[in-house]
């Protein structure tokens, strides 16, 4: 069972596909859950404390805005733990409520830097593409091996 980083990290479709085909999706929900279930200082809504941008320094330089570094403290450890990645490139919805566009660019950059199996896709726009989309994910995840 491989740990597969999904981008967008909040994607329902990718999270479901990875779990459905027997692997572990690394999504932002698991990182957020870890924080909101850990005792510490009250810092609503996501329990991102002033410590997080300091941890984010591992992936982003000090002159990078704290918002990016804070978010990287969530995604950075997951990228390091990941053994494969599935990236959807035309995910415009990743900009906005999920977070900063610069963080998204940095996540994609780090995923491309890391030597691991990677699948690049776009969202399907019709039924024919839907079949190709699911088939591509299934092939990729089967080739990873060790499915549950």
């Amino acid at each position: 069972m491989a740990k597969v980083f999904i981008y967008p990290a909040t994607s329902l479709i990718l999270s479901d596909m990875v779990a459905r085909f027997g692997h572990t999706p690394l999504s932002s929900a698991t990182a957020i859950r870890e924080r909101i279930q850990t005792a510490g200082l009250e810092s609503p809504p996501l329990q991102i404390t002033p410590e997080e941008p300091k941890k984010g320094l591992k992936w982003a330089a000090v002159e990078v805005p704290a918002g990016v570094r804070g978010r990287m403290s969530l995604y950075g450890p997951m990228i390091e733990a990941s053994e494969a990645a599935i990236i959807i490139n035309d995910a415009d919805m990743a900009f906005g409520c999920m977070g900063c566009a610069r963080t998204n660019e940095l996540i994609k950059f780090l995923l491309h830097q890391k030597e691991m199996p990677r699948l690049e896709l776009n969202y399907p726009k019709n039924e024919e593409e839907g079949v190709k989309f699911v088939a591509a994910i299934k092939r990729f995840l089967t080739e990873l091996g060790g499915a549950k």
Binding site: T10, I13, P45, N89, G130, V131, K132, A135
Partner: protein
């Protein structure tokens, strides 16, 4: 800053999203309640939110998936159901994160169709999708067609 004491420590929360002509969230909720053993199940407009111990949640999700495997989708959630930091009952307006879900709900019918087709076909026989990182040059015939369309 005040001290933060977390609630529901060790629990796992999952969304079960249903996109089907045959199953409604109410059907799923009824089946979920039948097999839930102290697990919190909340019915929503798009499906269910299930919260409890990891093994119990996993068991319910596996059972619910069997009802309509190609039209039921599951993902993790960080917050427990009704958490005041996320619940729209406290905040008003759409729940943060709903926009992403709403967008993907427009794509899910294509994915469901793909899953149905893959039950009949082998994935290796289906041609790959275009690589989005490759930006092919504009085909000369396509360009000519576009120019003709503009001129006519």
């Amino acid at each position: 800053m005040t001290a933060y004491t977390p609630t529901h420590v060790g629990s796992v929360t999952k969304y079960v999203v249903v996109e089907s002509f045959e199953i409604t969230p109410a059907d799923l909720a009824a089946r979920g309640y039948e097999i839930s053993n102290g697990v919190m199940i909340k019915e929503t407009c798009f499906g269910l939110v299930i919260s409890g111990k990891a093994e119990e949640v996993e068991l319910i999700v596996t059972e619910l998936r069997k009802i309509d495997p190609d039209h039921i989708f599951v993902k993790d959630r960080g917050f427990p159901p009704g958490d005041s930091r996320r619940c729209r009952a406290n905040l008003g307006g759409a729940r943060p994160g709903y926009n992403g879900l709403e967008f993907e709900m427009t794509v899910i019918p294509y994915v469901s169709h793909g899953l149905e087709e893959l039950n009949k076909k082998d994935a290796t026989t289906i041609p790959p999708m275009e690589n989005p990182l490759e930006r092919p040059l504009l085909d000369i015939h396509k360009l000519k067609k576009m120019i003709d369309a503009q001129e006519s």
